[in-house]
């Protein structure tokens, strides 16, 4: 069993009692995250989907490597390893009228005007 340090991004710190770094044990990345999730309610649900797979909007790094380029959650963890959880960040402007990218805008009928303050 290896002990690893898991670095927690700002959005997930409410689930680790505010800690930005947490120690956890396991042979693989998946085991380390599961062990951590067992101690912090709700944490694992943000990382893994219902099938126990890594959610598409979360990246997990083992050292310098994204585990998706390694062996995924089965990637072996060495003692002293550092695991980074990195939220996927994406977005972009809406396209007026559902047109193609690059459409000019006039400021009228802006989808974004309807977003702020509205319930998702």
């Amino acid at each position: 069993m290896s002990q690893a340090t898991v670095r927690i991004p700002t959005p997930l710190r409410p689930l680790t009692g505010g800690s930005d770094e947490v120690a956890a044990v396991g042979h693989t990345v998946g085991e380390v995250l599961s062990e951590l999730g067992g101690r912090h309610n709700g944490f694992l649900d943000r990382i893994l989907d219902g099938q126990g797979k890594l959610r598409s909007f979360v990246n997990v790094y083992l050292g310098d490597s994204n585990v998706r380029s390694l062996n995924g959650l089965d990637s072996a963890v060495a003692d002293g390893a550092v695991i980074h959880i990195v939220p996927a960040v994406a977005g972009g402007r809406d396209i007026p009228g559902g047109g193609i990218a690059g459409d000019d805008i006039s400021g009228d009928g802006i989808p974004g005007d309807d977003i702020a303050g509205e319930t998702r």
Binding site: D20, A88, G91, G92, D94, I115, A116, G117
Partner: protein, 184 residues
């Protein structure tokens, strides 16, 4: 490659950008939701203007590094990241997670955190889109910069709280003697 703009852009002509400087905006007031403020220096705002103008008509994106509490977010550094969504770079961005990692390491080494995300809306208002909402995380500031062929024209910052985007005020960090020397 990720860029530490506090060094690279300050030496460039970016500081001479004619982009409109932002002023404080009124946040949407929501009962029971604490308002936050995003604090940027004048140099950081000019760096950001330079980056979004250089990327126009494509979206630019990056990370804000600094410190935050329940009332204010203080930005110490602005990082530029690669947009991996090359096919739809005019209206979408996917921030390169490798750049995110590099910024996070740099931040932690200095006792700081990633406190927000910035991106541009070419020819579009600086308001969150449906796409922005779907991909947003609570706990980050989302700084959106509207830009046109004439330059960056509006800066607004938002935070996701309870599934809603709440606008936060943008304030200008008072200039210190050291930052004054850096800018000159």
């Amino acid at each position: 490659m990720i860029s530490d703009l506090s060094e690279s852009v300050t030496r460039s002509s970016a500081t001479q950008s004619s982009a409109t400087l932002i002023t404080a905006v009124d946040a949407v007031t929501v009962p029971g939701v604490a308002a936050t403020e995003l604090w940027l220096t004048g140099v950081q705002r000019r760096d950001l203007a330079y980056l979004v103008e250089a990327s126009y008509p494509f979206e630019a994106c990056g990370l804000l590094v600094g410190s935050a509490d329940t009332e204010r977010v203080d930005v110490q550094d602005v990082f530029h990241a690669r947009n991996l969504n090359v096919e739809r770079a005019r209206d979408r961005f996917l921030l390169d997670p490798d750049d995110h990692m590099a910024a996070d390491r740099s931040a932690r080494a200095r006792g700081l955190d990633i406190v927000g995300i910035w991106h541009s809306h070419p020819d579009h208002p600086a308001r969150p889109s449906i796409t922005d909402l779907e991909a947003a995380w609570e706990g980050f500031s989302y700084l959106i910069i509207s830009t046109t062929a004439s330059g960056a024209n509006d800066f607004r910052s938002w935070r996701l709280q309870g599934g809603k985007f709440i606008e936060e005020k943008i304030r200008e960090t008072p200039q210190t003697s050291s930052s004054s020397e850096e800018e000159s």
